[in-house]
């Protein structure tokens, strides 16, 4: 039976919401194709009742495979076996770092076609067609597959519905891991670096990127957030978090948080797609950047082409004055 297999990422007893969105999308597509959407959970001692919950998002069956968590290659082994044994034609991933690694490796293993950064999937002539924005989102390309297709979605591409409460049958599958799949081992997983800050509940987010030039640039952004007062916070891009300028908990984007504040003020952020996916739903986007070609100006509501070191202190004073009046 042709069908769709969705990878469900889980951590500490909870499923990743992008995986849940992918299962719901796959379930809808499977209905149009006249087939079923199945999910696969790979991990250490995954409880059956946890796996069965995926039925609430549309999985008709859930495969559970016992294998090390947090790395892509054991999952490639598991999905290749399940897809080959059960005749799935498509695999869908909700995005994220592991989704990209697993999807690409799986395409190599199965001789399948793979498309990443997918924002929409449709059915045409009984086959899936994936839409992918390209060239800085200025154009959308459609992917069709000669044989099996692997679809890796952009983060937040699919709506996550509330669970229907349905429970799916669970099938445990024994998979022999490839010798090279066990040559990478997790030493420590999910380490949080830096202070714990809450950016998801903020109405006003002042976000900083590499354009700040140095870690101290964030002091001004904190002052600006303070000037707005109320429910304001400071956020950061992955580049500056990896550089140690700001805590991981404040990171927006692909491997960080997704936010939608009333005001998102981006200072020294170029607006790479990995950042955009985490903040594009913000109600008002203001960008300050000295490079007039920065992609962020293509999706900001107000763009300032100028020097941060001059504009930001002046904005701080102006907002303070306005608040005081």
């Amino acid at each position: 039976m042709a069908g769709i297999l969705v990878y469900a990422l889980h951590y500490e007893g909870a499923f990743n919401k992008n995986s849940l969105g992918a299962i719901a999308e796959a379930s809808k597509l499977a209905g149009e194709l006249g087939t079923e959407a199945h999910a696969i959970v790979v991990g250490e001692s995954v409880p059956d009742d946890l796996a069965a919950q995926l039925g609430g998002y549309g999985a008709a069956k859930v495969f559970v495979v016992e294998a090390p968590e947090g790395l892509a290659q054991p999952v490639i082994d598991a999905m290749a076996k399940v897809m080959t044994d059960n005749g799935h034609d498509y695999a869908i991933f909700g995005g994220g770092l592991l989704g990209f690694e697993i999807g690409a490796g799986l395409a190599a293993r199965l001789g399948a076609g793979v498309t990443m950064e997918v924002t929409g999937v449709g059915v045409e002539d009984g086959k899936l067609v994936a839409e992918r924005p390209i060239l800085g989102d200025s154009s959308i390309s459609e992917s069709r597959y000669k044989g099996k297709g692997i679809i890796i979605a952009r983060l937040n591409a699919f709506e996550v519905p509330a669970s229907s409460g349905a429970s799916a049958p669970v099938e445990t599958v024994a998979v022999e891991l490839s010798p090279w799949s066990t040559k990478a081992k997790i030493v420590r997983r999910g380490e949080q670096r830096g202070a714990d800050v809450d950016i998801e509940g903020a109405n006003v987010l002042i976000a900083g990127g590499r354009g700040l030039g140095k870690a101290e640039g964030f002091e001004q952004l904190e002052e600006l957030a303070g000037a707005f007062g109320g429910n304001s916070a400071v956020a950061a891009t992955r580049a500056v978090v990896d550089a140690g300028w700001y805590p991981y908990a404040a990171q927006i984007g692909q491997t960080g948080k997704t936010v939608a504040p009333k005001l998102y003020l981006a200072a020294g952020i170029s607006g790479a797609i990995q950042h955009k996916v985490g903040m594009q739903s913000s109600e008002n986007i203001v960008a300050i950047n000295k490079d007039s070609n920065a992609p962020i100006f293509e999706f900001s509501d107000l763009g300032i082409v100028g020097d941060l070191t001059q504009t930001v202190p002046t904005v701080i004073e102006a907002v303070k004055a306005k608040k005081g009046s």
Binding site: F100, E101, I134, K148, I152, I186, V315
Partner: protein
């Protein structure tokens, strides 16, 4: 030990990119340069060599691409690679990610490296997936978006940011590792290195030299067919202000925010 660094020639960031409507492929003419992400992979290789904990005898830059890709190899050599390998063949034109990864893996098998390094994504096609494809064909452990590498117990102790925070992973060699741009600050090549780059050995290979099955590459061998390019839903363009007089600019910003009741 031998390290192979996969590099790629990409359009210069300053050049407007477009799709050639007649072929449906990215128009790769215009100014080209070494993919900026790849310079971090070369630097990581240099630091492993200079660190001395592993005996690195040779760093080899490897690319697949048209004749002009030689320039990316010269740049890679000027940054520290000892020699380079250039896979170039008409049969490869139009290869998708999976086909490209297969062709590169076949090329790498000739070199039999202990470590393959690459940049986390290419600047043009955003294919951060090539490392995983190459690794599956080479049957080697693989990790992407690595931001720290230490030599521990004869293998590599790698750190990266994943879905739930920072992960530390111990990887046995041989391995395929793609690095993120936070891993290092690439050095600038010396004038002497730039001048000498063209004199370093360069192997030019055709598909047959790397035992590549041409039925599995190129547009006809690729499993994905891309087409029907269309414009995304239009978003009304925002207001852009060039900051010439900062006081004036900030006045406009505050008025804009105030109008939307954001202050």
């Amino acid at each position: 030990m031998k390290i192979c660094v996969l590099v790629k020639e990409v359009p210069d960031a300053a050049v407007t990119k477009r799709i050639d409507p007649s072929t449906g492929r990215l128009d790769r003419s215009g100014e080209k340069n070494l993919n900026p992400y790849d310079t971090h992979a070369i630097e990581a290789a240099m630091q492993l060599k200079e660190g001395g904990e592993l005996q690195i005898d040779e760093i080899v830059a490897v690319t697949m691409g048209p004749d002009s890709a030689v320039r990316a190899l010269h740049k890679a050599v000027s940054l520290g690679a000892d020699r380079s390998v250039h896979l170039s063949d008409e049969a490869l034109a139009g290869s998708d990610v999976a086909a490209t990864g297969y062709a590169l893996a076949q090329t790498l098998k000739r070199e039999n490296p202990d470590l393959v390094l690459l940049g986390q994504q290419s600047d043009d096609g955003e294919c951060y997936t090539i490392g995983a494809v190459v690794a599956d064909h080479l049957q080697a452990p693989s990790l992407t978006q690595v931001i720290k590498i230490d030599v521990v117990d004869g293998g590599l102790r790698c750190e990266r940011q994943a879905e739930y925070g920072y992960d530390t992973v111990q990887v046995e060699l041989p391995a395929v590792i793609s690095v993120g741009d936070a891993i290092n600050e690439p050095r600038y090549p010396s004038l002497k290195a730039i001048m000498g780059a063209k004199k370093k050995p360069l192997d030019a290979l055709k598909t047959a030299d790397a035992e590549i099955d041409v039925a599995l590459v190129g547009a006809s061998g690729s499993q994905v067919q891309c087409g029907s390019f269309k414009a995304p839903p239009a978003k009304s363009a925002g207001l852009i202000i060039e900051d010439e007089d900062t006081n004036d600019t900030v006045e406009k910003i505050v008025a804009w925010l105030d109008e939307r009741k954001l202050i």
